[in-house]
C-alpha cells in the first residue's frame, strides 16, 4: 500500500509513539512571531528552562503589529527581541527587515520539501505549498517545540482535491480556494491534510500555491500540501544550489516526498474549475461564498490588499494591472501592505507602488496590518471592507465590521467603483 506525502513525512520524522495513533514528530522548523511567542518565553523563564532546542531551526519575526503601536505591543516585541538575542538566534527579523511570517520565511528559503514546520499561527499551513508538513499550533505546543524540538499529532489522514480544467481569465488561486472551502465547509477537513493536485496546481506559481494552502485551515485542515516539482526547485534554487549538481538532481531528490499513486485518501474531490467565476465571501464564515456577480453592487468603505494570503508580488501585479492609470472611488479608503521588504522593493522597481499611490492607495510597511483589527486599518462599527485576507469572522477587522474576502484583482476593481465589482466588467 502506497503512502501520502504526509505519511512519508510522519514516518521519516517519527520520534516517539507514546500511545497508538499519537505521533511525536521531530521538527525542522519552529517559527515564531510576537503575538503567540512571548507567553511561551515567559513560561519557560518561569520554569527555569529558558533554552532553545536548536537556534538554527528557530526563525523569528515581528509582523503582526510593527512598528509597535503602544506600550503593550512594544513589550511583546521587546520580549521576542530580547529572547532572540539572548539565544543568539541568527534569523530574527525586526523593523525595517520584517514582513508577514508566512511570506518572509518561504522567501528566505527556510521551507523545503519533506520538512516538519510548526508555528503559533493557524495559517502555518501555507508552507505546505513546498511539500512540507506545516501546522499551526497553540502557545504550549510552540513552547515544547522551542524547548524540545518535538510536536504531537494524530495519525495523518488526507483529503485529495483534484483541480482540473483550465482557469478563465480573471480567475485566480484565491477564487479556487474560496470555492474549495465552500464545498468542504468550515470543518470539512478537520484533522485532515488537504492535498491539492491536478493540472491547475501543476501550472501554478509557488505564490499561487501558497494562496491555496494558506486557507486550508479555513476548512479545518491541519495542513494544505502541494507536491514538490520543478516549480518548487526553481523557487528554492538560489538557496539549494550548493546541495545539488543541477536542478534535475534536486527534483529527483524531492520526488521522494510525492504521494504514491496507490496512496490511500479518506476522500477525493474532483473539481473542474473551467466555469469558475471570481468568488467572494458574504456573512461571517469563510465557507459562505458566492460569485462576485451575485454580490456586485455591495458598498464597501475600505479595500485592503495584502496579508499572508495575497500580499505577494504576483498579487500586487494583478491588482496594479486593474488600477493602472485610474483613481479609486472617493468613498473608499484603499490600503496596500506589501508582505515583505523584498516584495516592497520589487514593487517599487516595477512601478507598482507608484500605480497604487497614483490611484489613491495608502501604502504601509510590510505587516499583517488591517488583517486582524489590532494594528492599523481598523473598521468602525457598521463599516464594510473588501479584503484579500483569509478570515471574515465577526469583529475580525474591528468590532461590528464586515469583511468580504476576494482576490487582489476583484479587490482592485472594487476599490475603483466603491462597490463589489467583477474586474471583467470594467
Amino acid at each position: 500500500m502506497g503512502k501520502t506525502l504526509a505519511e512519508k513525512i510522519f514516518d521519516s520524522h517519527l520520534r516517539d509513539e507514546p500511545f497508538s495513533g499519537t505521533k511525536i514528530l521531530s521538527l525542522d522548523r519552529v517559527l515564531c512571531h510576537e503575538i503567540t511567542t512571548p507567553v511561551a518565553i515567559a513560561d519557560l523563564v518561569w520554569r527555569e528552562k529558558d533554552r532553545v532546542f536548536d537556534r538554527e531551526k528557530i526563525k523569528v519575526v515581528i509582523d503582526h503589529v510593527t512598528p509597535s503601536k503602544d506600550t503593550k505591543t512594544a513589550t511583546q516585541a521587546k520580549m521576542l527581541r530580547d529572547w532572540a538575542r539572548r539565544h543568539d538566534i541568527p534569523d530574527f527579523f525586526d523593523v525595517g527587515r520584517n514582513g508577514v511570517c508566512h511570506a518572509i520565511f518561504p522567501e528566505k528559503g527556510y521551507i523545503r520539501p519533506g520538512f516538519t514546520v510548526i508555528m503559533g499561527d493557524s495559517h502555518t499551513c501555507t508552507h505546505g505549498a513546498f511539500g512540507a508538513f506545516a501546522a499551526g499550533v497553540g502557545t504550549t505546543d510552540l513552547e515544547v517545540g522551542i524547548l524540545k524540538g518535538v510536536c504531537a499529532f494524530r495519525e495523518p489522514a488526507t483529503i485529495r482535491v483534484n483541480l482540473n480544467g483550465a482557469l478563465s481569465d480573471g480567475v485566480y488561486a484565491k477564487d479556487v480556494i474560496l470555492h474549495v472551502i465552500a464545498k468542504l465547509g468550515v470543518n470539512g477537513a478537520t484533522d485532515r491534510v488537504i492535498e491539492f493536485r491536478g493540472p491547475i496546481v501543476d501550472q501554478m506559481s509557488m505564490e499561487a500555491r501558497m494562496t491555496l494552502c494558506n486557507m486550508a485551515v479555513e476548512a479545518g485542515g491541519t495542513s494544505g500540501v502541494c507536491m514538490p516539482d520543478m516549480t518548487t526547485v526553481e523557487y528554492l534554487w538560489e538557496f539549494i544550489q550548493a546541495d545539488f549538481d543541477n536542478k534535475e538532481a534536486a527534483l529527483a531528490d524531492y520526488q521522494q516526498w510525492v504521494s504514491d499513486s496507490d496512496a490511500v485518501y479518506t476522500d477525493t474531490l474532483n473539481i473542474d474549475v473551467s466555469d469558475l467565476e471570481p468568488q467572494v465571501t458574504f456573512d461571517y464564515k469563510p465557507d459562505c461564498v458566492k460569485s462576485v456577480k451575485e454580490m456586485a453592487g455591495t458598498v464597501v468603505d475600505q479595500v485592503y490588499i495584502g496579508t499572508c494570503t495575497n500580499g505577494r508580488i504576483e498579487d500586487l501585479r494583478q491588482a496594479a494591472a486593474i488600477l493602472k492609470g485610474k483613481v479609486i472611488a472617493d468613498s473608499v479608503r484603499g490600503i496596500v501592505s506589501p508582505a515583505t521588504p523584498k516584495i516592497f522593493q520589487d514593487a517599487l522597481e516595477e512601478g507598482i507602488i507608484k500605480i497604487f499611490m497614483d490611484a489613491g492607495f495608502c501604502v504601509t510597511n510590510p505587516t499583517c496590518g488591517a488583517c486582524l483589527g489590532m494594528s492599523n486599518g481598523v473598521l468602525a462599527e457598521g463599516e464594510v471592507a473588501a479584503a484579500t485576507s483569509n478570515r471574515n469572522f465577526n469583529g475580525r477587522m474591528g468590532k461590528g465590521g464586515m469583511v468580504h474576502l476576494m482576490s487582489p484583482t476583484t479587490a482592485a476593481a472594487t476599490a475603483l467603483t466603491g462597490v463589489i465589482t467583477d474586474a471583467r466588467s470594467l
Binding site: 499519537t22 479545518g220 489590532m374 469583529g395
Partner: protein, 176 residues
C-alpha cells in the same frame, strides 16, 4: 497537577464559534493569562447572550455545538476560559488547534454526539444545570431540577495522559 472539572454549565447553542469571538484579537497584546479575564466571549454572536451576565460569571462548564474554537490558533481562547475557571468544554466537535490547546493546558475538551448535546441543552428548562465529570469512568452526569442524566464519552490515551500530567509541557519535559 490535575485541574478541577465540572460545575455549573452555560449553553452556547451555535456551531462554528470561533476564537475571535471567544477572545477578540485586540486583547492579544496582553502578555499574561490573567489580564484576559474580563473579556471572555466578548464578541460572541448569539441571540440573548450577555457577556456580562451572571450565568457566564457562575459557569465552569461550556456546552456547545459543532466545530467549537475554529479560526485562529491563539491559546488565549483556552486561557480566557482557564482564568474564568472554565476547565471543561463539551461540544459536538472541535477545531483541531483549539482542542489540542485545551488538553495541552491540562483542560478537558469533551466530545459528545449531537443527540446527547440536544438532551443537555433541553435540561436548561429545569434551571441551573450542574455537570460532574468522571474522567476515569469517561462519563459526565448532568443534574437540573430533579432530573439527572448520564452520558459517556471517549478520550484518547494521549489526551488523558496530558490531563493527568497537568499539560503538555509537563508530559514532554518528563519524557523528552
Amino acid at each position: 497537577m490535575q485541574k478541577k472539572f465540572g460545575g455549573s454549565a452555560i449553553f452556547l447553542d451555535r456551531s462554528d464559534i470561533n476564537t475571535d469571538e471567544i477572545i477578540p484579537a485586540k486583547y492579544l497584546t496582553e502578555v499574561t493569562k490573567e489580564a484576559l479575564q474580563p473579556y471572555i466571549l466578548e464578541d460572541l454572536k448569539l441571540e440573548g447572550f450577555d457577556p456580562n451576565g451572571e450565568v457566564l460569571k457562575n459557569a465552569t462548564v461550556v456546552v456547545t455545538r459543532e466545530n467549537f474554537g475554529c479560526g485562529s490558533s491563539r491559546e488565549h481562547a483556552p486561557w480566557v476560559f482557564e482564568v474564568n475557571d472554565v476547565h471543561t468544554t463539551i461540544a459536538e466537535s472541535y477545531a483541531r488547534i483549539f482542542r489540542q490547546n485545551m488538553f495541552n493546558c491540562g483542560m478537558l475538551a469533551i466530545e459528545l454526539p449531537k443527540a446527547d448535546i440536544d438532551q443537555l441543552m433541553a435540561m436548561q428548562q429545569q434551571g441551573e444545570v450542574v455537570v460532574s465529570v468522571d474522567l476515569d469512568g469517561q462519563s459526565v452526569t448532568a443534574k437540573a431540577g430533579g432530573e439527572e442524566k448520564q452520558f459517556s464519552f471517549e478520550i484518547s490515551q494521549f489526551d488523558k495522559a496530558l490531563v493527568d500530567a497537568g499539560g503538555w509541557v509537563e508530559f514532554a519535559d518528563a519524557r523528552y
